[in-house]
Symmetry: C3
Subunit: 368 residues, 3 copies
């Protein structure tokens, strides 16, 4: 159960474009370096090369050649089905026209796929299609209800757009209308569609709480749009306490390098969950240590698996392959030392891999 | 030498109550989970089950059954004496009527026990017994002197009540009286006894400095009363510098996940010490990594052992068992690699286990 | 290529002085402890004792005796040449009269040495030799140009003098003159030469940007002059973004315990590099874990080697010995597990050891 993932690429890409998709940097890649020379690059050559018919550690150029000759459809089919994921919860709010939608993801992998709706994308879509400031609050709530009819969760990227150091209380309606007015006027005058006003971002979060589905929050490591130190999940503590009566589950995504902090929140607050998704793919062989560190304070019923893959299906595959390998190594070591029983180790793996997500997202029946 | 510990439970407890005592969460435990499914729960089943006559990894229900059939007195006797702790420094300020007092702890373990006095509890006791705002500062100093006649140290929980981001200077007497007046009035009108005013909390800390005994400070990980990021020990730096001339030792307790930061403070300030107490029990098999990380910047004369156990004697036992196992694994690895000598490893273990505490708290003679 | 290092001691030192030079503390060492009882102390006895003709783990007193009998020149010769460093980039701004200058370093080691100029030292030297506030900005720029004629980089210690939480924009000239006036007046009235005004410190940084050489920044762990939490490199993010158009490379030094954060910045910003220099020496055998953690998010083309040694040539030797041993252990483990190829491991070591520094500092030809 990959509880937070995006679509795989639809189209073939050149090596230079591919390299921009295996880093969180959005800058041009300097001529003196290759993004393949990184943990994620080495992991692709180690894990995905055999899936494409090459030996382990095949050179990057050789890898890209095999990829091009197989074509994106076949690469997607091999890597998505090879990931061994039975159910993808696909978040659709980012550059959706370049990637497979949930239905296509399910088809390519031969498995189930459900949708997670990005709170900010719903707002941007009603602004694009036309709305007045005064009607904005109601229109947003309605649009969110419509967009999530079949969704299993919602997602907030307030980490990118502002940070977690926001005023936690539900904003007053008058303040929301005022902020909407500023945004709409700026947009009408050629300003960006991208919503960055903290009052609006908080309003979306609270609308998510009212909607009642689990709320995924991008946490920690991500692209340079964010200020990493303002994405420390501990900054969410006041808001986490405020929404506690609503019994809505909070899913902290990735969390690196704040996964120990996330484990603390997952222990002390019944409605807080987390994963180390993106931090697994991008640390490659070092993800074994990250996974071990994610198994410290948290009750095992509060940890989930995700890949956060977007674009190259290598990331969908790797998220799963590295997680399986890392968990196997860590738990086997503990079992061999006599510190955990083998039965417990298997039970914990099943909780993190499928059972916790099945319960939180109210999905039918474990593995498909 | 367990330099920071609380009493063991006096009475039998059900499994549901027991589970609330093996987490720092103070929330009700949801029906879909068991706190036994956590590192500390697995560690109890692995380490304590054999002490109660069960096989390693016995199921939680089986464990609780054996515990009930032996009875709390026998469970305490086995686990407290089995911990192999020669001297407990017992902090008495939290829910003292449910747990053994220092004398009873010593009797149950067959070992020595001394007292550590909580600074805030002294204040709350004089407010309960009646005091005027004007006389509060003198009364507090007197009460602290009385309470610590036989104590070996004091403890501050300013981390819980405010955070380490406090104004470091000694507060003016007039400000203390004013803050005491507000507290007393609120308490008279049905407000809480619990002291949370930062001026008063600082006043207690400075009174502790004047008293001259080592000052233990809860640091880092703890229950959701605290804001974890405001318990980063680096926030104490200005206060640590201010009190340096007083030559009073500062004992940073637990520190997880800020134990590397604590190691830095212990290296650069002669009067700063630390332990990773609570972080050992609650990370179970992962405590080996925490212990290794605690052995980075600190001089070995600045690190101590504690369990921070409160309540179930399993925590008293585990604190010791996990520390012994973790230290053995880490140091043996370094000795086997030729990086440390075996003599040095044994010497460092003795420093951390008993010698440093014996010196700082001016206790007679090492192991009893 | 040790891209950030200082000179080795010129003169013989007693054990008590030596111990003050193997800690970042500037406090007197209490009688009840020895700085040899620390990771760096154990590493000296393990790694340097054989270089001085003693067995591994020789006692500290024995070690100091051998050191005294060989004399500082011979100790320097053995340890500096034994470090196997082909090129030292020597930063000269700190207590330069007690240590070898770059030329002497090169001679003692039998290798190349180049100079890195401390931005703040240039300012202090022109204040010492006399300058008016009004002419200060131009005089500084001229003095920096003169001081760096043959330099390969500059260094900022704004971390020590203020912290990274500074206003990122280039300060207005009028503000610089005003700040210089205050500094000069205070200095004329017996105040310290040491510059601590944040406007001036920012001015030096921006002058460094204009100068165009790579800018080294002390980051993270250091002596108690700094507030460690204000040296988290993430606090530099706004400034890093502001200077991006200048195409000047930023070298984050040491970074412990924020090396994961540094790895993030190195991934997302093309002009950010880092090392874990000082954090290797002072964590001894634990540096293996630090090195592994430094190999997470960063592209391998963005990581460098440094020792940050100052004074005892043991630190120059250890920086190299620990790095070689730690990298060997970490990469061999990954190769043995089949996760990295041996060719890749060797290639990455060469990038970090020499190629990245050679490219960034525009040095001729790799190993000398």
């Amino acid at each position: 159960m990959d509880h937070h993932v995006h679509g795989a690429l639809k189209d073939d890409v050149s090596q230079s474009v591919f390299e921009t998709l295996i880093t969180e940097s959005d800058r041009a890649i300097p001529a003196w370096m290759s993004q393949f020379d990184s943990q994620v690059g080495f992991a692709i050559r180690r894990w995905c090369a055999p899936v494409l018919g090459l030996p382990r550690h095949a050179a990057a150029a050789e890898y890209m050649k095999a990829r091009a000759s197989l074509g994106t459809d076949e690469v997607n089919r091999r890597l998505l089905s090879g990931a061994g994921v039975g159910h993808f919860l696909v978040e659709t709010g980012y550059r959706g026209d370049e990637i497979l939608n949930p239905e296509q993801m399910g088809q390519s992998a031969g498995q189930r796929a459900s949708e997670v709706v990005r709170l900010e994308a719903v707002a941007e879509s009603i602004v694009e299609s036309g709305v007045t400031a005064k009607s904005f609050p109601e229109r947003y709530v309605q649009a969110l209800a419509n967009a999530t009819t079949h969704a299993v969760g919602v997602k907030s990227i307030i980490a990118y757009r502002w940070g977690f150091d926001f005023e936690p209380a539900r904003p007053a309606k008058v303040a929301v209308i005022e902020a909407a007015r500023n945004w709409l006027e700026a947009f009408a005058n050629g300003g960006p569609l991208k919503v960055e006003d903290p009052v609006l971002l908080r309003f979306f979060l609270w609308a998510g709480v009212d909607r009642g589905l689990p709320i995924q929050l991008h946490t920690g490591y991500g692209d340079p749009d964010l200020r990493l130190d303002r994405c420390n999940p501990l900054l969410l503590t006041p808001w986490i306490k405020l929404i506690e009566p609503a019994s809505v589950d909070i899913m902290l995504l990735h969390c690196y390098p704040y996964h120990r902090e996330a484990g603390y929140l997952a222990q002390v607050f019944p409605h807080v969950y987390f994963d180390v998704g993106l931090g697994v793919n991008y640390t490659g062989v070092q993800s074994e240590q990250i996974l071990a560190e994610s198994l410290e304070l948290t009750p095992f019923s509060k940890l989930l698996f995700s890949s956060d893959a977007w674009g190259p299906a290598e990331l969908h595959y790797l998220g799963s392959a590295l997680w399986r390998q890392g968990m196997t190594n860590v738990l086997q070591r503990w079992v061999d030392a006599g510190d955990w029983s083998e039965d417990d180790a298997i039970r914990v793996v099943n909780m993190i891999a499928t059972e916790n997500a099945t319960r939180v997202y109210k999905l039918a029946g474990g593995r498909s």
